[in-house]
Symmetry: C2
Subunit: 272 residues, 2 copies
């Protein structure tokens, strides 16, 4: 009987952790819910942690104190992650993805919940130590990956708009120069989107010159927020000098040869 | 030792199910991974199902056969869901949400991963029987909730764009009349966004006249897809006659009184 109860607790706790990664659950939440002793719940947590790390599925992090608790941190490195990224890289090399102008079609990947969920977990892991208060992106294509990164961090997402609608109330708009097209662009956020003094992590699907990221930095400054990180799925190798100095990309795009139907892309920092 | 093994399997299986709801996992995947007998894994699944239903966290659905397996269906009704929706309704009544023109500010809710994740689970549950092949939305504000609904169903998301960029390749664009503003609008999808003959579920944050939903129906027709459902977080009570006949909303907005600072809103189908 006691054995069954432990299994049930393990199942319900894992459901809670995996359904809301990044969120600190207090031990009391679990003891109340299960009518179990603190020592039993602590033992459950050790057991869960052991299983998660054993299978390479992430870990549980404990913070002691009144505001503390236990949170689930999904795997962002290790063998299952490498396998996933390698296979994603293979998918991206498919010549049928080449679009006129040497662009890569990747909307399908960016909209597959399983893929984008794992990308979000991985990007979140790269910025855990930066302790962002929220994730920011610019509409539209980067929204799913930014949302899933925000999910893995249990932080709100803020979406800057290109074209601001009246229903958002007062807005702050900045103008900036796109690094790749050298054209003037604008991005806006509702004034009430965030209180001042926050730490922002920018997430996007693609970066070329870094103009958008630099625009986000300016926009964040208008809100008294600091940009503590920039994470993208793919960054181009050229230009080497981006408009933001620090960024993290999971893949580097070395080139797209339309005539030859070839995509040159590899995992960032890993020789092919 | 055997006891520990079962606990570890339970933890790892629940992690898999909760990280990818809606996805059919075959028993073989689990027996291979754990080096366990089919009978043991079957027992684990009964145990997990019992714990999930017991705590109101959803259920596991089994489909027998070669293409079958076991999938996790998050809770979309029951006490925890009611508690969540009631509390969300309270949040939406806050007069500080009233924007000029009688609109409601809800971008913050639509970008909180925990809230939007649960809304996605609930909307997904309402359309399980329609067996959608993908979820479709129109940029921008509905994307997070549509993404989370797609996640709960393990189906891809398709995002129709207002303003099509060259990098998407060939696109199909339709023009339609907005029911509320009576103005001409356009929405577009890349031609390669979906193969013909698919079943689409439209998800959005808000519906007034239903013009956008009707536009999506037209767009789906261009792709040889059928619109099998329309689900929104909030629909206005007026106009009663929407441009789509069937839709599901979690909340009904009866009115926003700017002068009095009052929002009239309730859970759809539930008297306040």
């Amino acid at each position: 009987m006691d054995k069954i109860k432990r299994n049930e607790r393990i199942a319900a706790m894992m459901q809670a952790f995996a359904s809301r990664p990044g969120h600190y659950f207090s031990l009391n939440e679990f003891t109340d819910r299960f009518g179990a002793a603190k020592s039993s719940v602590s033992e459950d947590i050790s057991l869960l942690r052991g299983a998660l790390t054993g299978f390479g599925l992430g870990t549980l992090t404990t913070v002691v104190g009144a505001a503390g608790g236990v949170k689930y941190v999904p795997a962002s490195a290790g063998e299952p992650v490498d396998t996933f990224l390698d296979s994603l890289g293979e998918t991206l090399l498919d010549p049928s993805r080449i679009l006129p102008g040497g662009f890569l079609y990747m909307t399908d990947i960016l909209c597959r919940p399983d893929a984008v969920g794992r990308i979000g977990d991985i990007l979140a892991g790269r910025f855990l130590e930066k302790e962002p208060d929220f994730v920011v992106t610019v509409e539209t294509k980067g929204i799913p990956v930014a949302m899933m990164t925000a999910r893995a961090l249990d932080r709100p997402l803020v979406i800057a708009r290109r074209d601001i609608k009246s229903m958002e109330g007062s807005v702050v708009t900045i103008n900036y120069v796109s690094a790749s097209s050298r054209s003037m662009q604008a991005m806006s956020l509702p004034k009430r989107a965030m209180p001042p003094g926050k730490r922002a992590l920018m997430v996007d699907d693609f970066m070329k010159g870094g103009g958008t990221a630099n625009g986000v930095r300016q926009l964040m400054a208008e809100f008294g927020a600091s940009l503590v990180g920039v994470g993208v799925l793919i960054a181009t190798d050229q230009p080497r000098e981006k408009k933001v100095q620090e960024y993290t990309s999971l893949f580097t795009l070395y080139g797209v040869d339309e005539a030859a139907g070839q995509v040159e892309l590899g995992r960032t920092g890993i020789k092919k």
